[in-house]
């Protein structure tokens, strides 16, 4: 884990800092609620929680501009909330209801928002990586100055298609930021047991793609790195790799007892490196916010999350004729 130096050096304003606190807290509380609903049998199938990794998407969204695109794997709830998708629509998709982003037909791993430029939500490890480069290809073709954030994990970093994509992205100078969310475990396999080199960000070197490691528990460090990467892409210099070192507190999915690591390891992370506590400390010690201010935010977030859970419970299941819709698009 990289040193925690970027926080002090950052020129983030108090307003922005408060916003990051709020955004990260929304993800945390939303995911806790999703875990609860899963336990109650309201959410089925696979459900991969983002708890612990919140600073990654919040920091990178802070570096994005309107119109930039994002695409990720199945651990996608945080990305959707961070890019401004409606928590009600996300939660209702988790419960498989018509009010969900995919009308209940996609579920936790397959959600999309054309409006927010969120291109999924992909259930096959690594498959989103060439697709992300393809989104960037379309932007370059249209010369619209947009950048695509293509997220994948340390596990997906061992997929062959990632390197096929690195090659083409570099060859064609595609405006894509490859964000490797290294949470140190590919499901139950610790990185050192699956990955031949400890620094995944160096894997772009063979293709001439610059990369760097980022402290993913520090939202301002992530934002600063994101801005640098985005500037690189927008300048027409091609792709950029950010290996964001982070940690998930929960199991790989809801059904994972996480026996492959010690309780102490997780506890140590939570106590010493929690990204939300970190910002909370900065806000309080810098006198940017009072305990009461933060309590008000906590309360507001809780209300949003509870409302999303209510919506997700009350929204009806999709009508049966939805079985046969959206298989083919009609010609205009």
């Amino acid at each position: 884990m990289a040193a925690r130096k970027a926080a002090k050096a950052s020129n983030v304003s108090a307003t922005e800092l408060t916003q990051y606190y709020r955004d990260m807290l929304l993800i945390r509380r939303f995911e806790e609620k999703a875990g609860q609903l899963y336990g109650m049998g309201l959410i089925g199938g696979f459900c991969h929680l983002y708890i612990g990794q919140e600073a990654v998407v919040v920091g990178l969204e802070a570096a994005a501009d309107e119109g930039d695109k994002r695409i990720t794997s199945y651990r996608d709830h945080g990305h959707m909330l961070a890019c401004g998708m409606d928590p009600n629509g996300v939660m209702a998709e988790l419960t498989g209801r018509i009010g969900g982003y995919s009308k209940g037909k996609g579920g936790s791993m397959h959600m999309f928002s054309a409006e927010k430029h969120f291109y999924g939500g992909h259930g096959i490890v690594g498959a989103q990586v060439p697709i992300g480069a393809g989104l960037a290809f379309a932007d370059k073709y249209k010369a619209n100055g947009r950048v695509t954030f293509t997220y994948f994990g340390d596990g997906a970093a061992n997929q062959g298609q990632v390197y096929e994509t690195f090659n083409m992205a570099a060859l064609w100078d595609l405006p894509v930021v490859f964000v490797i969310e290294n949470n140190q475990y590919a499901m139950g396999t610790a990185m050192k047991r699956s990955t031949s080199t400890p620094d995944i960000y160096t894997r772009g070197e063979a293709f001439g793609i610059p990369g760097e490691a980022v402290d993913g528990m520090d939202v301002m460090a992530v934002k600063a790195a994101g801005e640098k990467a985005v500037a690189h892409c927008r300048a027409g210099k091609g792709p950029y790799i950010l290996e964001v070192k982070t940690y998930r507190y929960r199991g790989h999915s809801m059904s994972d007892p996480a026996k492959y690591r010690t309780r102490e390891e997780v506890q140590k992370m939570r106590e010493e490196r929690d990204p939300i506590d970190h910002v909370r400390d900065l806000l309080l010690t810098g006198k940017h916010a009072s305990e009461d201010d933060l309590k008000a935010i906590d309360k507001e977030i809780k209300a949003i999350v509870n409302a999303s859970a209510d919506f997700a419970r009350e929204s009806p299941e999709p009508p049966l004729d939805e079985l046969y819709t959206d298989i083919y698009a009609e010609a205009n």
């Binding site: 695409i71 037909k105 996609g106 291109y119 060439p130 393809g134 379309a138 083409m168 298989i327 083919y328």
Partner: protein
């Protein structure tokens, strides 16, 4: 001693070629490895090197001669000081005299290219007074892409060798010149990756045409085709999908063995969310490809290398398209329905001709698209003929024919006077040996035999 230099086969499917240019003249000394001539195949212009040493005694086929059959003597090599023997062929007689014989020794075992094609019988795809030109399937495919690229800035072509090389099978010939490197893009040899990039470009608002050098290599891209391209519209609740075409040659070519000879029609037809077209004729290749490019869904467009060089009537129209899900009745008949698609149509039509000689009247239906399938035409035909034989080159288990048989059993049980017979490729990986390859593929004779069986003749 004089040696004949024969017209070489320079590609697996080459049966004839153009002798574009002689680089030596009569009387020149020739060493092995010297370039003798430039020969244009259906795919490329190749340099033809001398194998033996000697003096070029006589050129038998002048440069510029088209349609020189493989194995035709094109020149005579003599030893220094030796005269050209009197019994050597002369230039005038050579190509014509040899061409018929050469067809018989052509290695592929497939129907010869210049066989007369049956006239359109029933389905009229264009107004009767429309002028037509003879065009190869290859030219028709190129024209379809060029027309759609002219009409829509969002359409682009990517694949291996599509740009500077002008296409591994020359389908994209001339497109780079017209549309430039922004829209005609050579990819690295990385099917999984570039298929995914194209899916992303489609999500991002473009209309990619992805050329697979052959569909054998698309197996590496199967996850992106099936999981990403075909399913996203459904998984996104209709918010976004992949308006794109995956196209390229599919099925057995000639003598390229197991890994390069497979028909994927049934594989792709299995997947909801994909559309699948498999044209036989040049007009269908053109009309269906134009429809495929405009279709807002991912389309698998299965071509055939052997058909690329065949010529058919193509209407001269500003905007000629063929809709998906509409079969073509090539030949009307009353005794049996032959259903096929792609190169299988070759056998169906040949068999129908032979059967007619025996007084059996076969109706021949080309499905043209396998998703959607024109069940109505099939059903109406079987209700008339009461017998059906399906013909395809794919493997027998879970074939398209199996599916059609099941459909007919459920929907036309009382009309059937005989079990439906499915003719397919044999249940073996494609062998290399010429005789075994021939045995592995479906043949016209098998179609005739199957019809005799269902008509109890």
């Amino acid at each position: 001693m004089a040696t004949e230099i024969l017209m070489p086969a320079l590609s697996p499917t080459m049966e004839e070629g153009t002798l574009a240019k002689w680089l030596v003249k009569e009387g020149d000394a020739v060493n092995s490895g010297d370039i003798l001539a430039e020969i244009e195949t259906d795919k490329a212009t190749m340099e033809f090197e001398a194998v033996d040493e000697g003096v070029l005694g006589r050129i038998l086929v002048p440069e510029g001669t088209q349609s020189v059959m493989v194995n035709t003597p094109i020149a005579v090599l003599v030893e220094e000081g030796e005269a050209v023997p009197d019994n050597a062929p002369t230039s005038a007689a050579a190509p014509a005299a040899q061409s018929a014989a050469a067809v018989e020794v052509a290695p592929s075992g497939h129907a010869e290219q210049d066989a007369p094609l049956p006239a359109l019988r029933l389905t009229q795809d264009w107004p009767q007074d429309t002028p037509v030109t003879q065009q190869t399937v290859r030219e028709a495919l190129r024209d379809a892409m060029a027309e759609e690229m002219r009409a829509d800035e969002e359409v682009f072509l990517m694949g291996e060798e599509v740009a500077e090389y002008q296409g591994a099978y020359k389908i994209s010939q001339g497109l780079l010149d017209e549309f430039g490197a922004r829209r005609v893009i050579d990819t690295p040899i990385t099917e999984h990756g570039f298929a995914g990039v194209a899916v992303g470009a489609a999500f991002g608002g473009l209309k990619p045409i992805v050329e697979f050098m052959t569909f054998n290599f698309a197996m590496q891209a199967m996850d992106q085709i099936v999981n990403s391209a075909a399913k996203t519209l459904y998984m996104s609740g209709g918010q976004m999908g992949a308006p794109m075409v995956f196209r390229g040659p599919n099925g057995a070519a000639a003598r390229v063995a197991a890994q390069h000879s497979q028909d994927y029609a049934a594989w792709y037809a299995h997947i909801p969310g994909l559309k699948v077209a498999m044209p036989y004729s040049a007009s269908d290749a053109k009309g269906l490809l134009k429809s495929a490019i405009r279709d807002p869904n991912p389309v698998i467009f299965l071509e055939n290398e052997i058909l690329y060089g065949r010529s058919f009537d193509v209407p001269q129209m500003d905007d000629f398209t063929i809709p998906f899900g509409k079969a073509r009745i090539w030949r009307e008949g009353s005794d049996v329905t032959l259903v096929s698609f792609g190169i299988g149509m070759t056998y169906a039509l040949e068999a129908a001709d032979k059967l007619a000689d025996d007084g059996i009247s076969a109706e021949v239906i080309d499905l043209r698209t396998l998703r959607p399938i024109d069940y109505d035409t099939l059903l109406a035909s079987v209700q008339k003929t009461n017998r059906c034989v399906t013909i395809e080159e794919g493997f027998p288990v879970a074939s398209i024919g199996n599916h059609l048989s099941a459909y007919l059993m459920q929907n036309a049980f009382d009309w059937l006077d005989a079990p439906v017979i499915n003719l397919t490729g044999k249940d073996v990986p494609m062998p290399y040996a010429a005789n075994l390859e021939k045995l592995a593929l479906v043949t016209t004779q098998e179609v005739v035999a199957a019809v005799q069986k269902v008509t109890y003749k």
